[in-house]
Symmetry: C2
Subunit: 563 residues, 2 copies
């Protein structure tokens, strides 16, 4: 549940000229749907517009969006959307925002915009986009944006320094400070130093790993591990990772080339993203190394690497089907599967099921628990301390994390000398005003979860989800009866249909006479009954019986028709 | 899914006199429902009879039992059930076994039997029980059992050495080798050495932590950490752990006593188990330290410790309700919550939601990720190596674990010199015969999951669970129509009821005319239609529409009545 929904709503004061207002519409209280709205002199600048992926208590939900209601009447005031990098939790909601106003300018790096445009094409939207790169300075209405290189688990990520009449904000996006990045593109501490000298009034930084002590291991340490593994394996190698982790795929391509293996990309997003990455020069593909999945059988097993999606146990993904033995690639003894990815909380059982399945087929399975085949893309506590000390921000507002991460990040700010009252632990929907070098939470706006479910957006309510949880746990019993009001007799039924309910339908024979009796008594009863009341009669009879007799509480759907 | 279900069934040969047959009915391929059946000369001995807790892909299931079908016709041949310790995954299925034959003798330590009897009382069963302790030797038909002390995360655990005409088996139950146990009760390596000298033909050992290198930390290291924390906290302390972890509770009582705090037990199983443990002398309760939960408000916050269940995020447990602010104990700033427990895979999101909720209320939260407040109860790889080396078993059969754990344990056996062909990687339902010092898998019997669901046992099928998953993800649409065959007209309806479906009912107005048309055409059509066929017509019309128009696949329940 969004933290904001358990925070009381306080209407913020009218925004005075020359004051900067910051309203996070997502990413504070959850890892995902990152979005922040900046406003000064009646103009809005947005940083990121991402989606959140549902948890098990949100069954059937496809995506969760930021709540746009705060800006839906202000669309024409938006001067641009800055996208810090190309991950779904930062760009995934852009199509839904552009449906409200197609010509909102998108600003981002070359790779980021390429990934957004690929996504928008699926939604048949052609965006207005401005490509920027590190060091570039652009003016968007009252906002002057300077873009700063940061490294992350996807190339070409940017932090943004926003200069306004009310003060300067540095927003890191997602980042880490790998000092040995594969592409040599460092998080630009020189720029951080310079901006620190200029003065950072508000520092908004990635909290995802703020509760993890020390420093994130360098990406470069993974290459040799893969090299060694590739040298040992006698048969096929299957590597599973995120389809946006271009540097990880690069390491796989390099290790494959070093050991004379061909690589086949497996999974729609993997194929699509690597085509984009190669075209733009972010992925260096050794000539002739790539083969099509449908041709891998033409090569000996010890000449093949499959680079696949599905590292989080997604049941429909290739890796999961390989583990169940129902994929064209029959995994067997001697094959080695490398899970070069993190394990997102909630996916443990699904991933362990895959690992057990692969082991049962005779494969070796290597994951971050057994070898250094993955490192995080987020700055740990030690790295964040460097940032605070070199920036010396007046105010700090942790972003991108659950409450536990935001609190940990806030503690780092305090430890480096940010005054306690200047550390803002805000929620989704918190309204933060920056004036005279002071940032304060001045209000709270509505900012609930917006569920995308099939073609519906924002129509699924929490009560629908509650219904789904009941149906999923207990199933339902539907009781249909046709009554004739005048005669007071039952013309047809009660007919009972149950699904997901423990017992077979025969058990209902016992209860049908009671339903009939209760209904007929109700109909011929002195009081005139509405259909609703008759349905309540059925609900009561069946509900009591199923609870007493079967110790279950399925959903009961009584239908009384008249004929 | 039980591993055994993806192993082809092979009928085992008739059991020859003087051969020992071992059939695990649970615990090989999953962590839980541990049960092993030993047979020689037509008599059966059972070791453990536990339950497995369902995962998210088994919605609504209360418990999963071992499959008793292998023994249901042999109940009178059972000479006894040895229970190695009192955890649910080792004793939880005993009531269901005794329903089939009440007078099966139960054999276990004092605490184990006390916990079983408390459970059986709820099922109104009075068992035939024999209390045994370490060093004791008892004859059960053709089986001579010698009991050996082992330590675990519950006191009074036993391994069992089974002497038969065909050879000797050592079954560890669950165990670790804490060299500094709180109660001084060591895993008896002297006995292991002696039994090794005598000769262990088959070693069945706990695999739960076999893939974890090194050694499990000693319980004694937790006490000082708790002591230090208790000394620092200014307000209430809330400790959450497993209600069977008597030694952990003892450490909490000791730390509370040292700092002049009273302790209230929270949670039904916590209250019940601690009463048993104190009565039998396993828990040493300082006089006057315990207070009733409903009286804690009478004491100042800095004099109170709440010892609670709910460490796995169970939504109904006290801890979860405290985190949501709907428990009589209002958690607030200065309170400290200690999660002194492991984090069982699949519970991560639920537990993190609780941690975030408690932090939001201003509490400090300490867990094994941030302080040494919990250690595992299972032997890690280093400890298992000691066992293999001191026992020198002829054959090794890893038990109690998922495939990945069993394989890791098997590798430890090989590394210590057990011949490759004598390392048995068996599944639930594998039939293992021991003869002439050789153990071999000779067959496979049916051994599926038996689901307890409300009052039903073994009636829920995998197709019911599939229905529940569909209902839980997509909801359902029920379409009821009453037709008059003779006139071919629709007398009433189509009436449409949907639950857990994204859109509101208004959307159905568009489809009702199509249903009516399709039905009337079908009824007046030349071909005579059965009710089933008419329902298929409705299913087809609605299914196509909802999929095309709403991109969803809810369960469609067409009902056609005749009047």
């Amino acid at each position: 549940m969004s933290e904001s929904t358990i925070t009381e709503l306080r209407t913020p004061p009218k925004l005075a000229d020359g004051t900067l207002r910051v309203v996070p519409l997502g990413g504070l209280g959850e890892i995902g749907r990152n979005m922040a709205v900046f406003e000064i002199n009646s103009k809005l600048l947005i940083v990121d517009c991402g989606v959140l992926f549902p948890e098990e208590h949100q069954p059937g939900v496809d995506l969760i969006l930021p709540d746009f209601s705060y800006i839906e009447d202000r669309l024409d005031d938006i001067v641009g959307v800055v996208l810090t990098h190309g991950h779904e939790d930062h760009i995934g909601a852009v199509p839904y925002l552009l449906r409200m106003r197609q010509d909102i300018p998108l600003i981002g790096s070359q790779l980021t915009l390429a990934l957004v445009e690929a996504k928008l094409t699926e939604h048949r939207i052609k965006p207005y986009a401005l490509t920027v790169s590190e060091g570039q300075i652009e003016q968007f209405g009252p906002f002057e944006c300077e873009f700063v290189a940061v490294n992350h688990s996807i190339p070409d990520a940017l932090a943004v320094f926003i200069r306004t009449a009310a003060g300067n904000v540095l927003h890191t996006g997602d980042f880490k400070m790998d000092q040995l990045p594969l592409d040599g593109r460092l998080t630009d501490l020189r720029a951080f130093a310079r901006l620190g000298e200029e003065g950072v009034d508000l520092f908004m930084s990635d909290s995802t790993n703020a509760d993890i002590p020390g420093f994130t291991t360098a990406e470069k340490e993974i290459g040799p591990v893969l090299e060694r593994l590739f040298g040992q394996v006698q048969k096929r190698i299957i590597v599973a990772s995120f389809s946006s982790h271009i540097h990880r795929v690069q390491q796989v391509l390099d290790a494959a080339a070093a050991h004379g293996r061909h690589v086949a990309f497996v999974g729609r997003s993997m194929v699509r993203n690597m085509a984009i990455a190669e075209k733009l020069g972010y992925l260096n593909v050794p000539p002739g190394i790539i083969v099509d999945l449908k041709n891998v059988e033409d090569f000996p097993d010890d000449r093949i690497v499959l680079m696949s999606t599905g590292s989080q146990g997604e049941p429909m993904a290739a890796l999961s089907r390989m583990a169940n033995g129902d994929h064209r690639i029959q995994v067997g003894k001697g094959d080695t599967v490398i899970l070069a990815s993190s394990l997102i909380p909630g996916n443990e059982n699904a991933v362990f099921r895959i690992i057990n399945g692969l082991l049962k087929l005779g494969a070796e399975v290597i994951h971050k628990g057994t070898a250094k085949v993955h490192v995080s893309g987020h700055a740990a506590a030690g790295e964040l301390l460097y940032c605070y000390n070199i920036l010396k921000p007046k105010n700090a507002m942790p972003v991108h994390g659950e409450t536990r991460h935001l609190i940990a990040n806030g503690n780092l700010a305090r430890q480096t000398g940010v005054a306690d009252e200047n550390v803002l632990l805000a929620d989704d929907g918190s309204v933060v005003d920056l004036v005279d070098g002071k940032a304060r939470i001045v209000g709270q706006v509505e900012c609930g979860f917006v569920y995308v479910d099939g073609s519906s957006i924002g129509e699924i309510t929490d009560s629908d989800l509650k219904d789904r949880r009941i149906l999923g746990e207990e199933g339902f019993i539907s009781v249909i009866t046709v009554v004739n009001r005048s005669t007071g007799k039952i013309v047809s039924g009660p007919e009972i249909h149950a699904r997901g309910f423990a017992e077979d339908d025969a058990v209902f024979d016992n209860i049908k006479p009671q339903i009939t009796a209760a209904l007929e008594e109700a109909v011929v009863g002195t009081k005139e009954h509405t259909t609703y009341q008759l349905q309540q009669v059925v609900r009561r009879v069946v509900g009591t019986w199923v609870n007493k007799r079967h110790r279950r509480r399925p959903m009961i759907v009584p239908v009384v028709l008249e004929a």
